[in-house]
Point group: C2
Chain length 249, copies 2
């Protein structure tokens, strides 16, 4: 068997998420169906770098799969890109060693979260950014982001009842950009791993702080007390993008 | 009766166009339905600055309508914005003189046409830009755009069988921008009026020239010979945006 690494992008709007599940359309199912067709009906299973929830987009999701045959990388990319549904694009295919694993090989991820701060909200962005047409203190947001950077126990920012035991993660970058022309606030988060709903919970909290309805110091409290009840609401999935997965060599 | 001017934006994807028509969803019908509700069931008709075709978007369409009652501009804007469907947004409402007419008051329009030149195409932009993943000579495109500027008879760039007699129009700006990060080519066209399908036919021709499959001089020939057969194909509607309508005082 030969192992392939793929970088794909997708519009999360019409998917129930990345992972295959019964009675709902998933990226995994659509991609595996196409791969199986190319593999002459022999079932192929893929492994993604991470799951994305229903409605969450990806610009650079990574996955791997094995095929019995050696394909030219660009030819296989083109075949997959044209045969997958129009809300999935295949950006690159690369031959990799048998020990590469999209999920378990050491990697860091970068997510973006887009907030539409225009008034009124942009109808063309309604599936691609989360509207927040209220005042926001950018300087305060930047201070709050600095507090999230570094190594912390993020229990207070994950959904309660998560199976994962160790909730210590490192955020190497938490930053903010403002796209004036498109009225978009773009949050960027990079790190060695993120917990279930962690980014959406962090963004929901950040917006509350930036809007003056929660003190800046609440971040320290949520981290120290590890209590989800102290954090803000979970931001909607339509603003979240898995932007990039970087593997260590 | 009191006359109101509205600036609205909409996502053209799920509309059969701006203008009301039987058995198909239109911006006009949705907007009039909302206005009629606000006007306590008394029918209200709107008049738009121009029609947009099925699938064409608007960032700044202008329309006017009359109501028997005086409303606060921002309150009426908010009511319309929240009560129209989510693919329409109401950007502003302004009280205007009775002689203001969205269509017949002298105005100029600006359109944008977005081309996704990324490979592969961006699945998140599939309804909001026209994909063209082939080589394009930007310098050549800029020369071709210069040829379109000015006052010309644009018969060769409109759909044949158009009822309008006088096909002389003035293009005050025809330019090109490249958004490197989003892999988007953005064409901008401003002028005192555009013929049916004129911009989509110009873009279809420009892409053929930029791709080297049509000589630059073909533009002069299409303008001089007024023959639609000489021009390129009609570009898809999903890249076209009515960006702004400017009225003379």
């Amino acid at each position: 068997m030969i192992r392939y690494k793929a970088i794909i992008s997708y519009d999360g709007y019409r998917f129930a998420g990345f992972q295959r599940q019964p009675h709902a359309r998933s990226v995994q199912e659509e991609f595996e169906n196409t791969l199986t067709k190319i593999n002459r009906g022999q079932a192929v299973t893929i492994q993604g770098a991470g799951r994305t929830d229903s409605g969450v987009h990806a610009l650079g999701q990574v996955l791997h799969f094995d095929l019995p045959q050696l394909y030219d990388e660009e030819k296989l990319r083109f075949a997959l890109d044209t045969q997958t549904p129009e809300d999935i694009a295949v950006r690159s295919i690369e031959l990799v060693d048998k020990d590469f694993h999209a999920r378990y090989s050491k990697h860091s991820k970068t997510y973006e979260f887009l907030v539409d701060i225009g008034r009124p909200k942009n109808p063309l962005m309604r599936h691609y950014a989360t509207p927040f047409p209220y005042p926001l203190d950018i300087a305060l947001l930047e201070k709050a982001l600095t507090k999230l950077e570094g190594t912390h126990d993020f229990t207070g920012f994950t959904a309660s009842g998560t199976a994962v035991k160790d909730k210590v993660r490192t955020i190497t970058e938490a930053s903010l950009e403002f796209d004036q022309e498109r009225h978009l606030l773009i949050f960027t988060f990079s790190g060695n791993g993120f917990l279930y709903k962690q980014i959406r919970n962090m963004v929901g909290t950040l917006l509350k702080i930036g809007n003056g309805r929660m003190p800046l110091e609440q971040i320290d409290k949520i981290l120290a007390e590890k209590n989800r009840q102290l954090a803000g609401p979970t931001a909607a999935p339509n603003g979240l993008y898995l932007k990039e997965v970087r593997y260590e060599r």
